[in-house]
């Protein structure tokens, strides 16, 4: 057998001073072999990023590292700084999460990606530009000679990340560490970047450690998977095994708690509780309080299980790894909202436009318009969930905020309950807002830090002068019960809550005035995977109990499929396709919808070899200068001359329920379902 590139034994990392040291990594063993992609999966605080920094000796002074780390024959824990520096330049490449902060804004991209090689004396300065162009070409950047002389701000997000990959690969490293490399990118761009990363890795035979929380990405690229929880690896196995037959209750629960783009209506099965905080770990097995198998078992409470082999190439750290019950009870089916087509629609938006002026020069003259939203029409019926999906910059959030009156609409009409609510004066708008509330994406930023959570939830009632009328403190306590928070938490401050709990508080606040419609702006995007399911279930329960309508704004296609009744796909300020949920996911007719669906990673390694992706070229154009005709035509695989000349109208597709804006609308050739079948037509 080949020697591993990296071999880690008994790695422990503690942070903090004397007496109150916090163990962040608590005994991690793993090996990475050449030409292998090891994915480390875990939630925030599981110690996955710290592990990756420790193996290259990049942790700060305050960290205390124990154990042995052998990287390419060098013992990292005892090596002197100069040896480490040499090793990092030669043998290891890094790809970090955010390409905007990885690249230095004042140096040209070409200089940065060759800097390492020049500094280590392997490349002459005179040859640097040619080498930079060569490296950029290898990661599919168009016009590499020209691009090498440009600065990072002239690159788009996906191109920056590809430049970072080029930089990491420049020295032909034996090991590449990629920490959440695609988390900051949109799904179509993520597909491009993962494809480039996989190709370059295969060409060079490097070992890759890929750290991620996205099980879809894992299924897409991994050879082997290590699952981390509470500072330890709890399970490791080849990728197919992990997904097919997880041998640790945490892995199993995690897989069952994520909504999947390719399946149906079963209600999510969330993991109860919160991920543990390093420094306040439960006794015994760290997962025991949340575990369906080991909860309150005396053995699990007393003893932290060791990571032991449970089969060929696989290990699990569970007392019951050998005796896990076959498959827990099938999750109960999700209850679909009753069809509400007979009702008057609650919200009707017609031709909504939000254009922001671009002002330049000393005189601040308006020289152009950013068409953030450019003619959006949609309707939401009572009790129904309508989703707006799209990549960043497509205008979905601006649409939501314009409906809420937080951003001024520049055209079109918005009717709520039959009454126009566009451009209302303050008093009337205030009344209308009682019926319609907003839940924000970032639970950390949307709660006022100086108020107690009781006051935060009561604030809408106080502002409308309804606090006493609606029951005062009793009403607040009821709202807490409704969102599953304990009444004992009423007097606490937002900083004392975890992300999922804060989002519950945000939902309780939105419900205080008994609205009929909630606008949910990416309500689970900022939450840990195991917490997302709890919040999604809560939203669905509330909808059923209170008959709420949701306008659900999201980029995650799996979550959208799980929660929606109807779905509208946005691209560059317009809706390009709208249909019932199943209509859209099973028979998408707009090429953008088709590529979006095909680019979304599916958490099932079995389909990765059979499923072909449509990898779109390029990225979303600047909304200040959108392409002529159909704004999608420069990236579209069906575009013809007519597409660049005329914008298609938004019409019904044949006699289907689907409405779409495309000159060449139609299903992918010969396929009814993107996910039911194997191969798909390849983007031409």
């Amino acid at each position: 057998m080949v020697d591993p590139v990296l071999s880690v034994r008994g790695l422990k990392v503690d942070f903090g001073g004397e007496g109150r040291s916090v163990p962040v990594v608590r005994g991690v063993d793993f090996d990475v072999y050449p030409n292998e992609v090891l994915c480390i999966v875990g939630e925030s605080g599981s110690g996955k990023s710290v592990t990756s920094l420790a193996v290259t000796g990049l942790l700060s002074e305050t960290a205390r590292v124990h154990g042995s780390i052998r990287l390419c024959g060098i013992d990292v824990t005892t090596a002197d700084p100069e040896t480490l520096r040499q090793m990092r330049g030669r043998d290891v490449g890094f790809i970090f999460q955010d390409p905007t902060t990885t690249l230095n804004p004042v140096l040209t991209v070409g200089r940065q990606i060759t800097e390492g090689e020049v500094a280590h004396g392997r490349l002459k300065k005179s040859g640097a530009h040619a080498r930079a162009a060569e490296l950029l070409r290898e990661v599919d950047i168009a016009d590499p000679e020209g691009r090498a002389g440009q600065y990072p701000h002239q690159f788009s997000g996906g191109m920056r990340q590809r430049a970072v990959i080029a930089m990491a690969m420049a020295g032909q490293p034996k090991l590449i560490i990629a920490d959440e490399p695609t988390t900051a990118l949109d799904v179509t761009v993520q597909a491009q970047v993962l494809a480039v990363l996989a190709r370059r890795q295969a060409e060079m035979g490097s070992a890759v450690i890929l750290i991620t929380h996205d099980l879809g990405v894992v299924a897409e690229v991994a050879n082997r998977v290590a699952v981390m929880y509470g500072g330890r690896i709890v399970e490791t196995a080849p990728v197919a095994e992990i997904f097919a037959n997880p041998r640790h209750p945490y892995t199993r629960a995690l897989l069952r708690s994520i909504p999947r783009i390719d399946t149906s209506d079963s209600r999510l099965d969330p993991i109860p509780g919160q991920p543990p905080i390093p420094g306040a770990l439960p006794k015994g097995c760290a997962f025991q309080p949340r575990c369906a198998v080991g909860r309150d078992q005396p053995l699990c409470k007393a003893e932290d299980p060791a990571l032991v082999a449970v089969g060929d190439q696989r290990q699990s750290a569970c007392h019951f790894a050998g005796a896990l019950p076959a498959e827990a009870i099938a999750a109960e089916p999700r209850i679909l909202a009753a069809s509400a087509a007979k009702h008057e629609p609650l919200l009707v938006v017609d031709g909504l436009r939000v254009h922001f002026p671009v002002k330049t020069g000393v005189l601040r003259r308006t020289t152009g318009w950013v068409k953030a939203v450019d003619g959006v029409s949609l309707s939401v019926n009572p009790g129904e969930t309508v989703s707006l999906v799209g990549e960043s910059g497509c205008g979905k959030t601006t649409t939501g905020r314009a409906i809420m009156g937080l951003v001024r609409a520049t055209g079109g009409s918005i009717h709520f309950g039959g009454q126009s609510i566009r451009d209302l004066d303050h008093g009337t708008m205030r009344k209308a807002r009682r019926q319609m509330q907003y839940v924000f994406q970032d639970p950390y930023a949307s709660l006022n830090p100086v108020l107690s959570v009781e006051d935060i939830v009561a604030e809408p009632l106080r502002i409308h002068g309804l606090y006493d009328e609606m029951g005062g403190a009793r009403r607040i306590a009821e709202l807490f019960d409704m969102v599953g928070l304990s009444r004992t938490m009423l007097g606490r401050y937002p900083s004392e809550f975890s992300g999922g709990q804060k989002q519950r508080i945000g939902i309780a606040r939105a419900l205080a005035l008994q609205p009929k419609l909630l606008i949910l702006d990416e309500p689970v995007a900022a939450l840990d995977v195991s917490i997302q399911a709890q919040v999604i279930n809560l939203l669905q329960d509330l909808q059923r109990e209170l008959g709420l309508a949701y306008l659900f704004i999201a980029h995650n296609l799996s979550v959208v499929r799980h929660v929606s009744d109807r779905v509208a796909v946005m691209y560059l300020g317009r809706i390009v396709e709208e249909s019932s949920r199943d209509g859209l996911y099973e028979l998408p007719v707009h090429p953008y919808t088709q590529s979006l669906l095909s680019a979304a990673p599916v958490p099932d390694p079995a389909v990765r070899d059979t499923r072909r992706r449509i990898v779109l070229e390029g990225e979303i154009p600047n909304p200040a200068s959108p392409p002529s005709g159909c704004t999608f035509h420069p990236r579209c695989f069906r575009a013809t001359e007519i597409c660049s000349a005329n914008a298609p109208s938004f019409d019904r597709y044949l006699d289907f329920a689907t409405r779409t804006a495309c000159h060449h609308a139609g299903p992918l050739e010969g396929r009814r379902n993107v996910f039911a079948s194997g191969a798909m037509e390849i983007a031409s």
Binding site: R434, Y438, F440, A445, L447, N448, E459, I463, G506
Partner: protein, 293 residues
């Protein structure tokens, strides 16, 4: 409220944990107490005993006596009253005018911002001491005039610090959230943004106290501050200067008290900035030399 109390206590505890800020706090508390209860002390700042003029420090007159035979210690303590009242009043005026200006300018932006901040820039462009002297020339020489003059020169720093704070908070989701459920702009400014801005404003209050005390002393030193016979530190420095040769303690001792007071406010301000905001050099304040030059 209980929560707030415990927070205040913990900040106080951390202030006392550092030697410098503990000393500063103790000095300021004692001088404030002395100024408040000066009437109950066996000291008389105006009783003249000409036979006893310009005597050095002794058991009866710890700081010595001045050219009219008055007890210098008594005059320093009663002078503290003048200084602290003027400084406190001036900072109150500066905060009460400056903070709302910053709030409105930052919150609404646009023409309101432009108009208000240009007014603030005008105030800032005038040298503080000249501006204060001009104000006193108009209002006449009195403690109230000194107070108003010093207060007006403090407005820009409050306006700017508040505006900067509002600009960072304005686009935060929890401010938008209040807007989303129908809160008015006034509600948002005073109930959401202001409570989140207390830390830098409070730090600024402490720092501006030192500046105001110095400016008040400078005005008295130039002979346009609080009129005699009310004792004031600047006035004592001014008279003491003439006797620097035969009675150096006359100017030096009040000078030391003045310096220590200003130093204490400064040390305390920096320590608070560290504690409340976790950053150093965060304080926008006119530097002492700008004030006196």
């Amino acid at each position: 409220m209980r929560k707030l109390g415990s927070k205040t206590l913990s900040i106080l505890g951390r202030l006392l944990a550092s030697k410098g800020s503990a000393l500063a706090l103790i000095f300021l508390v004692s001088i404030t107490l002395a100024a408040i209860f000066a009437d109950f002390l066996p000291l008389n700042p105006v009783a003249q005993k000409l036979a006893n003029a310009l005597k050095g420090p002794s058991a009866t007159n710890w700081f010595g006596t001045d050219e009219l035979g008055r007890d210098i210690l008594a005059r320093v303590i009663f002078g503290a009253r003048t200084s602290l009242v003027t400084a406190g009043g001036a900072v109150a005026i500066a905060a009460l005018v400056g903070v709302p200006i910053g709030l409105v300018a930052g919150f609404f932006g646009g023409w309101r911002d432009a108009a208000l901040m240009r007014f603030v820039d005008v105030l800032l462009a005038l040298p503080a001491i000249l501006f204060a002297m001009a104000m006193i020339a108009v209002l006449g020489r009195s403690q109230a005039a000194a107070l108003i003059a010093v207060g007006l020169t403090g407005i820009p720093s409050f306006a700017r610090i508040t505006r900067a704070q509002v600009l960072t908070l304005r686009k935060r989701d929890f401010v938008t959230a209040v807007e989303a459920f129908g809160g008015t702009a006034t509600y948002n400014m005073f109930r959401t943004i202001l409570p989140n801005s207390w830390s830098p404003i409070f730090v600024q209050v402490v720092v501006l106290c030192s500046v105001a005390i110095l400016l008040e002393a400078a005005l008295s030193f130039l002979g346009v501050g609080v009129p005699p016979p009310t004792p004031s530190w600047g006035e004592m420095l001014r008279t003491g200067k003439s006797y620097l040769h035969e009675a150096p303690y006359y100017a030096v001792l009040p000078g030391i008290v003045l310096t220590l007071t200003i130093l204490s406010f400064d040390v305390l301000g920096r320590a608070l900035a560290d504690l409340l905001e976790g950053r150093r050099d965060a304080v926008i304040a006119p530097k002492a030399e700008e004030v006196t030059s």
